[in-house]
Symmetry: C2
Subunit: 635 residues, 2 copies
């Protein structure tokens, strides 16, 4: 049973910090990404995704497909994620031109659907006979999943159901194939499971719930399925290793899985669907598995920035406590998926830790992936960058010191766009009488239960949050794990509601004003002594923001700095041309000087007092190549 | 022109520490390795190397080769390196049974040589038509090089020339092919260049000097040679990337190369030959290239242990200052090759730094590669090991926490055996009137110039060295770079000879006694501030020995320890069952305690005083799996 449900995206009208990001997505990212999809963006790798759909339509009509299919096997999903982002934007900011563009693209997509409901440009353009023969690598179910999400989002935003009908027909086709036709197998890349749950809720069609449950239930029961599938065919996409059942979480039935393993995006999409299904179907065994996997991630395999998947090899989780800073993979999509997972955990159980991690991943890894001007993106989010090594050494090729242009494999940018433009879904939730505030976000929100809130805050730089209430019921506000001290006022009177698992519950009436003062002190964070890479290190944070030290603010040299063990941290507001309105942290540090030219020396370096400046991690890499470090040595 | 030449192995009769290691090689390693070559060693991967030679002989006679060829394409070289090690052992310790065994093996090898002089079991057994068509991967020249070294060593040790004649004929065949026949190309794995120089000196045949010079001179002139070769054939060994010309140092002519790049063993074998040729041919341009490459290695790309090749990807050098501790490759063979390179630099120029590095690589990486009982070996020599991560994480698969059994690719163990049993060649050198002491080593040495020295020392644990002289001339003794203070007595009187580039020169007469007192203080070493992985770290050393901290001596937990910045280090002699007679270092440290169970915490850890115990790096991993760390955080 769901503890609470998500609110529609249209229910939250953002202001403040989130409002500015949503504006950036709306005004810069969505138009830029559409140009990319159309191959009209400069200095960008070819996408061809819209051409793929056009060509698939032609292939169905037996017309010449000209330039055929181009791109990754999952190229279709770029269009799906873009439509989803555009839909969320339209949900709160009507824009006839954008809606018209989306409608045109939907027409093209509808035209690429086969008469039986099949929809995938790779297989339709290249070879229809190979359909459904390579679940390991083929991404047919994955692409369908993303397009289902897009269809639901666009229907919710505009009431237009053309794409929804297309994807219902597609889902019926898949149901036919796997349920009626008893085709063996499950997706090589989980995603459709969570999409089908959403499609079920949007359409009410129980087949889609059944199909989602089917894919979750059969996964890993025959853990050699992909190996067998592999032997039946003579072609491959990349030649992915079928016996590596950890990579795609097929090594055991999902209810028996204990450690977060394998490709981190695959993993977190799967866990999201599991958590959603657990609350949807009131499946306690499934939820217990989700809890174990959540703990595996957050207690043993996650960066302080909410990054997950620490190794480039397989873009995957590594073993416990293996969290290298410089070779971190920490893919943007993986942190987005972690937010989805956390958000679905909150539909099972109201606990502050889920929202804490959601916020951590959002304000650090996800926002950090986007250049401040919205034009370039990190796929990989390291916690340390050293020009000359990062992006250069064989083991660091993936860890770039500045955001690259749009890639051929463009999973992350449109994923970040859809998340940010739907921020309200994750920040707020509701049940019949309660308004849940999981994350603080300036703006107005209208709940289905009749409560309306106006939230005023300068969060994440200001730490007072004021809610003005319309309607009545109960307000549930998360008290962040990082805010041990806080003060709550109801109509200017201090109140002390019990903190239940990280949330305070307040009865509210029309016209009430609730003011919350959180802890705005800058704080040092100490790593577990079990993380070898962080011995003797410390990081600095303020509120949900993790900070980092960049060369630009520290004489070009961060790696010779150590923070003083008893040193102070002074927050300082600043309006920087490059970084905008932010709060810097000035920290007491020492710089090692006098170390000789060679590699090793018996001469002890002199330590010189230095005021080191830290900036929010999400702003790093916006001033050209320079050193960056989150974890600093402490003396 | 050579500043000095090597002494024959037979000229040094070891005692003390080196004597014990040579005994271990003689009594345990050489017999064990022979068993491996014969596939008679238990718990060891199949070698088949002797069977390969037997089968090659059969193939030449068109007999059935039964079980054919087995092993790596360079399997022959295991036999060569073993013969070389055995020869060095025989040079000082006659052993009729061992000599008989070697003679038998040489008969088998001679039998495997084709009538034209060709000798390589892979191609002879598998496919004669493929000879010389894959210099990139085929290792024919590499294997010939090793067998030439073995032939010279065995001839020098025993006066027996059967293998020498075989290899002269083989070298003549190669001369015919590449000089007379003008076959294009050069070795994919340098090695024969240095071997041919030795063969030239052993036989006096100038063709071999010419052939060595040819291979050096043509290398990288056509940097696309391997690419072109690749296109001419339809088969491959592993499918090595021909365009990766850095991997095998073919990206530029050798005289133009600046940075040490690519596969580190290939690189250092090549540089060794270049340095040898530079002094042999008095080639100043070549020596200038050697100096640049030496500086690239020792000033930017070398571990404190003398390990080189910091990345597992291509077993290669990385970029400057990229020296990870836990994922270090630092192959044993690469440090052995670095010793060869250093030793050849000393034939060009007498400078203490060459011998300093030679000694550093020997006492730390090379000795550390061998289990103290001589039965297991490290190929990879990390500077940090954490059970659970090392050997387990995808990025750490190569960095094992304990020495593995003999591998199928068994390059390192016999390489270490031949180096240790020929230690005198590296420790001592001579010119017509000078006896050079590059490394301190208890025992007796007889120079070709008539000088004889008896050296008494407990080095590397004792720091007084006493030379008793027979004959007369000049003694050149290296004063190690780590011994800033030292005292020299000639017949009990303190003398103060000038220190010229790290050597003191003393006129000696028959009966003289020279006593040298070196600095036996334990010392902290500080890394360059340019090495990101070592920010705020310190290592402890004493004399040539680098120390490490193991769990076994430190309550099982090394990673929560920091050394105190102003803390003392106390050497303590100890006779340990597991580690033998060693000197421990007790160091003032603190342990971080009270860090909570999760990954990150706002609670500052308590620092508890702790006396941390360090053991010599070469003894690590002899007490089962446990944490090990060379570089410690400093507070």
């Amino acid at each position: 049973m769901k503890t609470q449900t998500h609110i529609p995206v249209s229910a939250y009208k953002s202001g403040g910090f989130i409002g500015r990001y949503q504006k950036l997505i709306r005004e810069t990212v969505i138009p830029h990404q559409y140009k990319v999809l159309c191959d009209k963006a400069e200095d960008t790798e070819k996408s061809h995704v819209i051409k793929n759909f056009i060509n698939a339509g032609k292939a169905l009509r037996n017309q010449d497909t000209e330039d055929g299919f181009y791109g990754m096997v999952f190229q279709d999903s770029d269009a799906a994620k873009w439509i989803e982002a555009a839909a969320y934007s339209l949900a709160v900011n009507p824009d006839a031109e954008l809606e018209n563009t989306v409608d045109g693209l939907i027409d093209i997509i509808a035209d690429a659907q086969d008469s039986d409901g099949y929809l995938n440009t790779f297989f339709t353009v290249k070879d229809k006979d190979k359909r459904w023969t390579n679940l390991l690598e083929g991404h047919e179910l994955y692409c369908s999943g993303h397009m289902i999400e897009a269809a639901c989002a666009y229907f919710e935003a505009t009431g237009k159901d053309k794409l929804l009908r297309v994807m219902e027909k597609n889902a019926e086709h898949i149901y036919e194939k796997f349920i009626i036709g008893k085709t063996e197998g499950y997706p090589g890349h989980p995603e459709i499971e969570l999409a089908l749950l959403r499609l079920f809720r949007t359409t009410g069609n129980p087949k889609f719930l059944e199909l989602s449950a089917h894919f979750l239930d059969v996964r890993g029961v025959d853990s050699r399925f992909f190996e067998k599938e592999c032997k039946k065919r003579t072609w491959q996409v990349w030649g992915m290793s079928a016996p590596d059942t950890h990579y795609n979480q097929s090594y055991a039935p999902v209810r028996e899985q204990k450690d977060a393993v394998g490709h981190s995006v695959r993993a977190a999409y799967l866990y999201t669907a599991m958590a959603d299904m657990a609350s949807q179907a009131d499946d306690k065994e499934l939820f217990a598995a989700c809890k174990r996997l959540w703990e595996s991630i957050t207690q043993k395999r996650m960066y302080i920035t909410g990054g997950i998947g620490s190794t480039v090899i397989g873009e995957a989780f590594s073993v416990d406590y293996d969290l290298p800073n410089d070779t971190a993979y920490a893919e943007t999509c993986a942190s987005i998926a972690l937010i989805f997972f956390a958000s679905q955990m909150l539909t099972n159980e109201i606990r502050g830790e889920y929202a804490d991690i959601m916020e951590k991943a959002f304000y650090n890894t996800v926002l950090g992936s986007i250049q401040l001007d919205g034009k370039r993106f990190f796929y990989v989010n390291p916690l340390e960058v050293i020009p000359g090594i990062s992006g250069e050494a064989q083991t660091h090729r993936h860890a770039l010191p500045v955001r690259p242009k749009w890639y051929a494999c463009a999973c992350c940018p449109p994923n970040a766009a859809r998340l940010i433009s739907s921020f309200g879904r994750y920040a707020y939730g509701e049940d019949e009488s309660t308004a849940y505030c999981h994350m603080f976000a300036d703006g107005e929100v209208s709940f289905g239960n009749g409560i309306k809130l106006r939230c005023e805050t300068d969060y994440p730089y200001g730490f007072s949050v004021k809610y003005t209430v319309k309607g009545s019921g109960r307000l549930a506000v998360r008290i962040p794990g990082w805010s041990e001290k806080y003060e709550i006022r109801l109509n200017r009177q201090i109140i002390q509601p019990e903190n239940v698992n990280g949330y305070v519950y307040i009865e509210i009436s029309h016209g009430d004003c609730i003011e919350i003062q959180l802890d705005g002190d800058a704080k040092k964070v100490y790593p577990s002594a079990k993380i070898p890479k962080l011995s003797g290190c410390v990081a600095v944070t303020r509120g949900p923001l993790v900070y980092c030290f960049e060369g630009a603010d520290n004489e070009g040299d961060v790696i010779s700095l150590s923070l003083k063990s008893d040193g102070a941290i002074h927050p300082k507001s600043c309006n920087s041309d490059a970084l905008g309105n932010i709060t810097l942290l000035e920290t007491d540090a020492v710089r090692a000087e006098g170390v000789n030219e060679g590699l090793y020396s018996y001469i002890k370096p002199k330590l010189k007092e230095f005021t080191a400046v830290a900036v929010p991690y999400y702003t790093w890499g916006n001033r050209g190549e320079n050193q960056m470090r989150v974890w600093m040595n402490e003396r």
